[in-house]
């Protein structure tokens, strides 16, 4: 059974027509997928993972690509493989959705925003399985239950935007699985999600594979996920397959240099055990200065006390505030000079809001923000303008936070212009120096954001934040969207800057392995509150709060030998942070479990 290939890709070559002539998406890629196995395809961004899978569905053609060579043999179940590369459109329509299901990279955009979940789910069923509306609905609810969506009936009538990211991704999965395809292609189904949801989805797919014998082609660049999921692994690099093997072979004895560097770049939870201070990662093929731990100092740079930020929910005839989103609720912490405080927690728990409140990009409702002894909340607009010289922010989404219409040099130069720090050739020089600082070639200065990869874009965002020589940088999920190798580079860069310039970071992330690597202090947030805060070592080795413990257990480990079973996972749905106007939450009370390690004793809702 396992040996029987359900799909064989042979010598695939895909070309794209562009303004500058044809370019190649993948060249000469061959691999098999066998039924009942999970094949993981790994590789950097742009290495051709998506293109390969889209070719199998013959969907590249709609994106402007052509299959220029190779065979795509698929067995539709009768043992007589057909070459999909030459199949008729009618036949392809039969296969798509029916025999091959596909989960797309971005759950946020993969669903049609104007149709209900139910409608989108039943569509395929009615076409391929010729079901009546009622049967299809019944089946759809059944699949939603299978993917563990609570209140499946109600979801059927909801629109995609009414679901959280994790739920949306599960709907996409349900959609792909609806017709019980024989091959399921999952293109980075979890990259954009946070750990807890990711863990849930991975578990779900694994279970489905086991239950139905579906072959899964899993595309990712996250080695930890690969380790958890894969039976076999294909490594792609620059449009080529560079290595193929079982998951143990790849992890234990990588042959190709690229695979090796990839594995080296993966931060692994627990690596930092026993080291009190963060230190840069060891990367392959990159000349690095000697790795030293970063100590920082214990001078307080930023002192936050009882910070509260709420967003009004307006309603009624006169648009009065009727309720509030309690995004940040009674949060206190300190950031020390030259050190990094990390905030972790699941999506929507208020991490970004907390970061933004510090810079007064959103106005906090209460609390004290003391930066170098000055109360930020008391500043008038002109003083605030000045204060921002010392505090900068790197935004969550590197693509969204850069103006698509502006050249990179102008974007980096903008803060300098705003504060009239430099002009003319001096400005040019400083911008160039910043590019050097973040290891970007100067030739990129005239480029536009879309001409850059995600990692490069994030470096621009860092350069922009550095331009003013700030003392504190709020790095909001600065590396979450990047692939491992780039992520490692950026992390190293940040740490290098911290070591050189004595910068402080407020590092916001949901990736525990990364947090472990970079932070001195860690705060865990849940539903607007800090449920646990303390030195990184202590929090990681001795998680005291129930939520922290659950979070830790959800983190996938980049080691195929330490697979987690589904039973370890135990998540509760997150309660709503919206409360009516009169609601006064209890103040946060902490208990010091160890020196400097505090745990919330008030009920946080978990």
């Amino acid at each position: 059974m396992l040996d029987h290939p359900i799909a064989q890709i042979k010598g695939l070559r895909v070309e794209f027509q562009t303004k500058d002539g044809p370019v190649v998406g993948v060249e000469n890629v061959s691999f098999d997928v066998r039924s009942g196995e999970t094949l993981c395809i790994v590789g950097e961004s742009g290495s051709g993972k998506s293109v390969s899978s889209l070719s199998l569905m013959r969907l590249v053609e709609y994106g402007g690509g052509t299959i220029a060579g190779g065979e795509l043999l698929f067995d539709p179940g009768d043992g007589k493989p057909v070459d999909l590369a030459k199949a008729e459109t009618d036949m392809m329509r039969q296969i798509r959705g029916n025999q091959i299901g596909m989960i797309f990279q971005e759950p946020m955009t993969a669903l049609n925003p104007v149709f209900t979940v139910g409608r989108q789910l039943t569509e395929g069923l009615r076409i391929h399985k010729k079901m009546s509306k009622k049967e299809a609905t019944a089946r759809a609810i059944e699949i939603l239950r299978e993917v563990r969506i609570p209140e499946a009936e109600r979801r059927m009538t909801q629109y995609p935007h009414e679901l959280s990211g994790g739920m949306r991704q599960r709907v996409v999965i349900a959609m792909a699985m609806a017709c019980e395809p024989r091959l399921l292609i999952a293109d980075e189904p979890t990259t954009a999600l946070d750990v807890t949801i990711q863990a849930e989805i991975l578990a779900l797919m694994d279970r489905l594979k086991r239950d139905t014998g579906t072959a899964v082609m899993f595309i990712t660049h996250d080695m930890a996920v690969v380790a958890q999921m894969a039976d076999r692994v294909v490594v792609m690099y620059r449009g080529n397959k560079v290595e193929e093997g079982t998951v143990h072979e790849i992890f234990d004895a990588p042959k190709h240099d690229y695979t090796k560097s990839l594995l080296a770049a993966v931060p692994k939870l627990g690596e930092m055990r026993g080291k009190p201070y963060p230190e840069p990662m060891k990367l392959m093929g990159v000349a690095q200065a000697e790795i030293k731990p970063i100590k920082g100092s214990d001078q307080v740079l930023l002192n936050v006390e009882n910070l509260v930020t709420r967003f009004p929910v307006k309603g009624g005839l006169l648009r009065r505030t009727v309720a509030q989103v309690h995004a940040v609720e009674d949060v206190s912490f300190k950031v020390f000079k030259g050190q990094t405080l990390s905030l972790v927690g699941e999506s929507g728990c208020g991490k970004s809001t907390c970061g933004r409140s510090l810079l007064r990009l959103v106005e906090p409702n209460a609390g004290k923000i003391e930066f170098e002894g000055r109360d930020i909340r008391a500043l008038n607009p002109r003083e605030l303008h000045k204060a921002r010289l010392d505090m900068q922010m790197i935004f969550q989404d590197p693509f969204a936070s850069l103006n698509p219409q502006m050249q990179l040099q102008d974007q980096v130069a903008e803060p300098l212009k705003n504060y009239a720090i430099a002009s003319g050739s001096e400005l040019q020089d400083r911008v160039a120096a910043l590019f050097d600082r973040v290891h970007l070639p100067r030739s990129f200065m005239r480029r536009f954001p879309h001409e850059m990869s995600g990692g490069q874009r994030q470096r621009i965002a860092i350069a922009r934040a550095l331009a003013l020589n700030p003392k504190l940088i709020v790095a909001d999920e600065a590396v979450s969207a990047l692939d491992v190798s780039v992520q490692a580079q950026v992390l190293n860069l940040m740490m290098e800057l911290q070591a050189d310039l004595g910068l402080s970071f407020l590092f916001i992330s949901h990736d525990m392995a990364v947090v472990e690597r970079v932070s001195h202090q860690v705060g865990v947030m849940y539903l607007g509150r800090l449920v646990e805060i303390g030195p990184r070592e202590r929090v990681f080795e001795n998680p005291a709060h129930a939520y922290t413990q659950a979070l830790m257990s959800a983190v996938p480990i980049a080691d195929p030998k330490q697979r987690k079973s589904e039973k370890d996972l135990n998540f509760k749905p997150i309660p709503s942070p919206i409360h009516p106007l009169g609601y006064t939450p209890e103040p946060s009370q902490y208990m010091e479990v160890e020196p400097g390690h505090f745990v919330l004793t008030t009920d946080a809702g978990y």
Binding site: R96, A110, L111, V114
Partner: protein, 335 residues
Amino acid sequence: MLTFTIRRLILAVPTLLFISLVIFLLLELAPGDPMAQVPLTVPPEVKEKMRMALGLGEPVHIRFWKWLVQFFWIEPQVLVDHIFGTTFSQGDLRVISWQTRSPVMDIVVQRLPQTLSVVGTAYIVAILIALPIGIYSAYRQYSWFDQLGTFVSMVGFSVPPFFSGVLVIVIFSVQLGWFPSIYDTTLVVNSWESFVKQLQQMVMPVMVLALQITAQLSRFMRASMLDNLNQDYVRTARAKGLGEYVVVMVHVLRNSMIPVVTVIALGIPSIFGGAIITEQVFKVNGIGQLLIGAIQANDLPMVQTLTFIFAVLIVMFNLIADVLYGILDPRIRYD
């Protein structure tokens, strides 16, 4: 959504009152004289007397107040009387046109059918033509069909109706004799022949008007389709094994219609407002013709009332467009 609508409706009242004041002052300031069309043979003293008889002697604020009362208090009563046979409005002075010395609203009601049938039909025809053109041009971007569509719609947009109208009259009425050049507003449709006649006389004005509207709408439709055609969800739909027709005409179209529907809704007031030049060219004598005639004759109560009704429609359909947007796009929530 409901509260949003109600809030906007409440807000619309002061807005409209202000608009009516501005229109009134504007008309007041504008030079012009209701006696302009009285021949020069009538001596000035007599004209002055006639002006007084129209109430022009009274101060501005009194006249505005009178209009407000007449429009907002008496006219609704008349409507109620008309529907329920009551007699609330008896003896009250309604908004009276200076030209015809008859209630403005009666004339408006008289004119509405022809305007609605001609301009409305043109609008519907235009929508029916423009949408498929827009959809297909976008689906086959840069094909010859698309290029031709662009060309025709640009030409259609840039040719003024006083030219295209006369052109079709010369071709179809004078040379070919197919359609009447003058619209018969007294025609009652009660048989097949009269229906055919009605169709015949509507063909040309509808054609001319529809050309312009089509030109604009098809551009919007095309742009909107182009925006949606390469969205991710389209790929998802294809991956489900849906046919091209379903993908384009259900998934893409539904999304692309959102901005287009609001554009269409925003254009609806102009159906009621009539098409000034086209109506004149074909003698449709609808609201547009009424307005331009009233402006030229300086019939202030008529102009004031018509423009105000128009303003009400604009404000209403703005609101309707916003609400439609919210209904069509489930992501939009008005609180």
